[in-house]
Subunit: 357 residues, 2 copies
């Protein structure tokens, strides 16, 4: 474990993106989005993924100099073609289009095709907050999840993020995979050689298992709910909605045809669309009621939920976004711990380009 | 158990709504929405609730002659004041506003205050389908659900419905409570005096229990996921998002202050808004890409998921909306079975107004 400052990880990532050929502006955005995951404690989506992006670029699946453009639009909607760019750059561009449309007509909704992994969904949703808007971000991803009653991996962990501004209270920020547990949490158990709780994964025959490595043995992750009796059909429906909004609406590649993140896995045959898909929404709060009325009621909502009577053994009810915000404060002052395998990986990436960590 | 035709239940409901003083048009809409639940197999939300609506009307909490109006709007948004009307009538009005706005600017988003229970969410979302639009419907509801780490009931079962048109395939229609299991499923177990699976409810001290009656003993329903280890914080976030979009955006009464459905339960003190809230969305498919491209790809999506390899003991993967559509075909031809306690209840409601079942 080595601890780095935010600036160290940001600069290193910026330099790597520059070395890949990104423009200054794109390298800044990509580094900012990437390291926002580390600073918020979502370690699986931060610098731990940097070498993966580099390998996709080496495999010519990521274009370091994309021309991002709107290919279809109405006053409240757009489809953005990401030109195979870094999702870390494509997503903020598309979210800004949604925000601009919301400024004009109250809400903006943007579906994106031909993109790549976009980092943490929460970053993009939170872009709306400074404009007194509700922000929504979702993305499809390579298929790791079996629908209810299936043993075939058909959906990604397909996260949804929703950021809602408040007044005196910090914003409500939900950001979650539509699976029982995120792939990042599963990877932590794999590294520790620990067992997974039942309900997270199934084996290749479709039986629930505590084997955290079941995925590598032909198994699958499970939709939120775990099994039918506990509502996995709801998690499956949510993941499907994310897939359809992100990739069927835009012309991206959906379901089992979503492009894989690991560059060593070949692209699926007969892809029905281009690249990964994302979906973004922005809703101006004052398109519904005066902004100060809304934020006062959000403060009241948050304060009331904070006061909800806790269960034994728990101090308090958590408002979505609390843990990540507290982590950000802590890591901004004490630094960001990075586990050894990731440090080794970053050093190797740096050596490739002559950049020191 | 007695079996009725669709027309019998529709006419009976229509006559009851007329007897409450609804206009012809409102009684037609209310009966159509109500019985759409029975015909689709969602028995908990159909005629089984008719006497509950009548009692709310008797308690002067439902206004049989509401003036439905838009109180705030932009090109893509509106807030509708339901004037304490039947949610069964308010919701289709508001969804139509969303559809009209989508015709104009690509999408329409409507938040509703001062409403009541709106029947099944799926009905309203499906209104969009005939316009080649994606439809979204959600509502808050009386607090039965404890957030993760809490023993206090703060949220309703807050359902989400999303209807997506296809081409040759039937549409994708997801409609689910954001809890592990719907209250309707819990009520079935209560009637049978059967145990609930772990993960559905907790007792008044916050411990998981198989007691299907735990709710009456001070317990609570659990958010989708069941417990923290299985992602209940995600179900809690989803239920919260539904509550905020439905009631904080509109000026409805939210969280633990949502008005209860049973008329014998007093309204909460210090309600921060008016009535129940709903949220509706309509997105024109061709606001994103040509409609035939979209529907062809939806067909491909659905066909591919139908072919997903089934798990042992299961015939096939189900597309959201399949079971309800199959039920509708069956019940349109064979009739709708209604359990004895509901028949007794309907007879009593009829006697009140001199209407025979």
């Amino acid at each position: 474990m080595t601890t780095f400052t935010y600036d160290q990880l940001y600069s290193f990532s910026y330099n790597v993106f520059k070395a890949m050929g990104c423009s200054d502006e794109h390298a800044e955005t990509a580094a900012k989005v990437l390291v926002s995951a580390d600073i918020r404690g979502v370690d699986s989506h931060g610098v731990a993924r940097l070498s993966g992006y580099v390998r996709l670029w080496e495999a010519k699946r990521i274009n370091a100099n994309p021309t991002l453009k709107i290919v279809h639009e109405t006053p409240s909607t757009a489809v953005v073609d990401g030109d195979a760019g870094l999702g870390l750059v494509v997503a903020p561009f598309a979210m800004q289009v949604a925000i601009d449309k919301a400024q004009q007509v109250g809400t903006g909704w943007v579906s994106v095709k031909n993109s790549n992994h976009f980092g943490i969904a929460g970053y993009h949703a939170m872009m709306a907050l400074q404009h007194q808007m509700i922000g929504i971000a979702m993305t499809n991803a390579s298929a790791l999840v079996a629908p209810t009653f299936s043993i075939e991996k058909m959906l990604g962990t397909n996260p949804i993020a929703v950021a809602i501004p408040a007044g005196n209270q910090p914003p409500f920020v939900a950001d979650f995979a539509t699976t029982t547990a995120s792939n990042g949490k599963l990877e932590i158990l794999q590294r520790k050689q620990a067992e997974a709780p039942l309900g997270w994964v199934q084996d290749k025959e479709g039986f629930e298992t505590t084997n955290a490595n079941a995925l590598k043995d032909g198994g699958a992750m499970l939709p939120l709910g775990g099994d039918r009796e506990h509502g996995s059909h709801k998690g499956y429906a949510l993941g499907s909605i994310v897939d359809i909004f992100s990739a069927v609406l835009s012309g991206g590649s959906y379901g089992p045809w979503a492009p894989p993140f690991p560059a060593y896995i070949p692209l699926p045959d007969n892809m029905p669309g281009q690249g990964l898909g994302h979906f973004f929404g922005a809703m101006r709060v004052d398109a519904f009621r005066p902004a100060d009325e809304f934020t006062q009621n959000m403060d009241n909502w948050i304060e009331r939920f904070r006061q909800a009577k806790p269960a034994p053994g728990h101090e308090k009810v958590i408002i979505p976004g609390d843990p990540e915000r507290e982590m950000e404060v802590e890591r901004m002052s004490s630094g960001i711990p990075v586990v050894d395998p990731v440090v080794t990986d970053l050093v190797a990436v740096g050596q490739k380009f002559g950049i020191s960590l």
